[in-house]
Symmetry: C2
Subunit: 348 residues, 2 copies
């Protein structure tokens, strides 16, 4: 009765996820003096007598964020934790605690949930994070997992999205595009399996990219590495939705532009060979693939010597004045405007 189906309605896909959150929360006020930062970064920040607490939450839904036909439940549990820890590390903080809420339909047995929690536990043990609570209920369809992670940092160490300066270097950890291509390979094998269940999946030669999709690791080592290198990033974000979309968040919030150099994008050889096989442009995959859970950050140009040559880090470009826009410099030395092609769960 109360959904009022006859009025003119705005579809959620028109707004996208970020537009939707902004729209829905723009009139909310802050009441508590210890709320340092609310919506709009990887984590919220709550201060508590000197130390800052960082809080982040993510929701994973079967059929939207994962497909159990190729995602083992143990891996799903592990990945669901990684997705959240990655947001804590993206604030240059230490992850400490998580809550895990799940809803499952009666299709799932206890043994299925044991596999899920085995993955959650492995993640907690590997990353020294404590499971401190949650909620467990039934769903009318499928499985969903809602995780909230709590981290801690000294106030002066926290890195937000809005601190990039026009001359800063743009740096990314690890390599890009693997998780997306791993998904493409798994989707292809699913199609083959659907046509002929007798067929054995042939995943030789794809082990790296499949692991990037099924068992990603959050980059806990990067904040530690940066501390050792005595580098404090001016801004940082994790790459969950694709490089392009994430660098645009930094630019928009820091009020700067950027130049990314195509030739500098770090690609694993398996990413390159799989792109050739699938006839996809590897630059597009690196820019828009998503789910890599690498860290993207900016550092002062004075830190160049500390960063260059580090095998964990690639300098892929630099920031510019805001009016110069956000651009990719191609191998042919052409500048083209970046597009946010990050994955949006509201699009079909």
């Amino acid at each position: 009765m109360l959904e009022d189906k006859n009025q003119e309605k705005t579809s959620l896909a028109e707004l996208g996820e970020f537009g939707l959150i902004n729209h829905l929360t723009k009139h909310f006020k802050i009441h508590n003096s210890n709320t340092q930062r609310g919506i709009g970064d990887d984590c919220a920040v709550v201060s508590s007598e000197g130390k800052e607490l960082l809080i982040t939450t993510d929701l994973l839904i079967e059929g939207v964020h994962f497909d159990l036909s190729y995602m083992p439940l143990k891996h799903l549990g592990y990945k669901a934790v990684m997705v959240n820890l990655s947001d804590v590390y993206a604030m240059n903080a230490k992850a400490k605690q998580i809550t895990v809420s799940i809803a499952v339909s009666n299709r799932f047995s206890l043994e299925a949930l044991e596999h899920l929690y085995a993955g959650i536990q492995l993640a907690c043990d590997s990353y020294k994070v404590d499971l401190i609570g949650g909620d467990t209920t039934s769903s009318t369809k499928g499985m969903l997992i809602s995780i909230t992670a709590v981290g801690v940092a000294d106030k002066e160490d926290i890195v937000y999205r809005d601190g990039a300066k026009a001359t800063d270097l743009l740096v990314v950890s690890g390599d890009l595009g693997g998780a997306y291509l791993g998904l493409q390979v798994l989707e292809r094998e699913k199609q083959v399996y659907n046509v002929n269940p007798e067929n054995q999946p042939d995943l030789d030669g794809y082990s790296y990219i499949i692991e990037r999709q099924l068992k990603p690791e959050a980059r806990r080592d990067i904040p530690e590495l940066l501390k050792d290198l005595e580098v404090t990033p001016t801004s940082m974000i994790d790459i969950s939705d694709g490089l392009s979309s994430e660098v645009m968040h930094i630019c928009t919030q820091s009020k700067v532009g950027c130049k990314i150099y195509e030739e500098k994008l770090p690609l694993d050889p398996q990413v390159i060979s799989t792109c050739e096989e699938f006839n996809i442009d590897s630059t597009m995959v690196a820019l828009s693939g998503g789910e890599d859970y690498e860290l993207l950050f900016t550092v002062s140009v004075n830190d160049f010597d500390k960063i260059k040559g580090n095998p964990n880090l690639s300098i892929i470009g630099h920031m510019t004045e805001e009016n110069q826009g956000m651009n990719l410099v191609t191998r042919a030395n052409q500048e083209i405007a970046l597009k946010a092609q990050g994955w949006s769960s509201f699009n079909e």
Copy 2:
């Protein structure tokens, strides 16, 4: 492929929610010294240099926890916040921040979500709580809301479930059973509406119990009242699943028994009259109704004079030695064993 449908399986309904959480999390270790209390209370407790942070999370799912045919979205948003704040107050703490994650199918418009967030905002403003983050995504079916609340308290003020002593008094705030009966009235009107959509709902005479169901208030005032009265409860819990089920949590965790006196159960006149109309036993409703979001707590018998006669509080019984069991003393002075008839989302 990986759900392995052919093994012998344990159904989730066999275990129930608490059994399930215990089973799934019993092997998890605590890694961080600031994790004071993990799973097993209304909130987890994380210490941060003197102040303790309290964290709690709840998941609400359409078709399981709410029915949008009689639950206006604004009320749903408000109630979803109350459910979480109630858990913070049940620790004798102050609620400070919330994160809100939602997943919605494409059946919902932006305007629908605006109503939901209007309710969330009203709750935040009324209870001086800050919305600090969340996640928004699509679902393949219906709506779900996952909220995490953060509270703060001095270490010595926090009240757990496990501190009740054998001679303590058992006290409840407000009155019981209203939310459950409000739901019965709304369900009846829905049936009438389904048969004849022209029929106007007749809700006169049910306003209190319908408000208890659709717009419950968390008892923020009770921790403040107890402070004013200079009473520190020895244990406390909020009544989300029904008095019976909640008192059994206190007894089990505190290793005590209890006697609850039927004649002492606080009932609103509208609860009594609606029970008569529906031909339901009002004691059963008070014990097992659920969703009242009142606070149930134990106090030392020495605090009797401070509590008695307070219009917000009812002394409904006392704790006993564990071997005396958990009992209801009827108006006819018979003792019968309490049953946990709390609502379980895993049962049909």
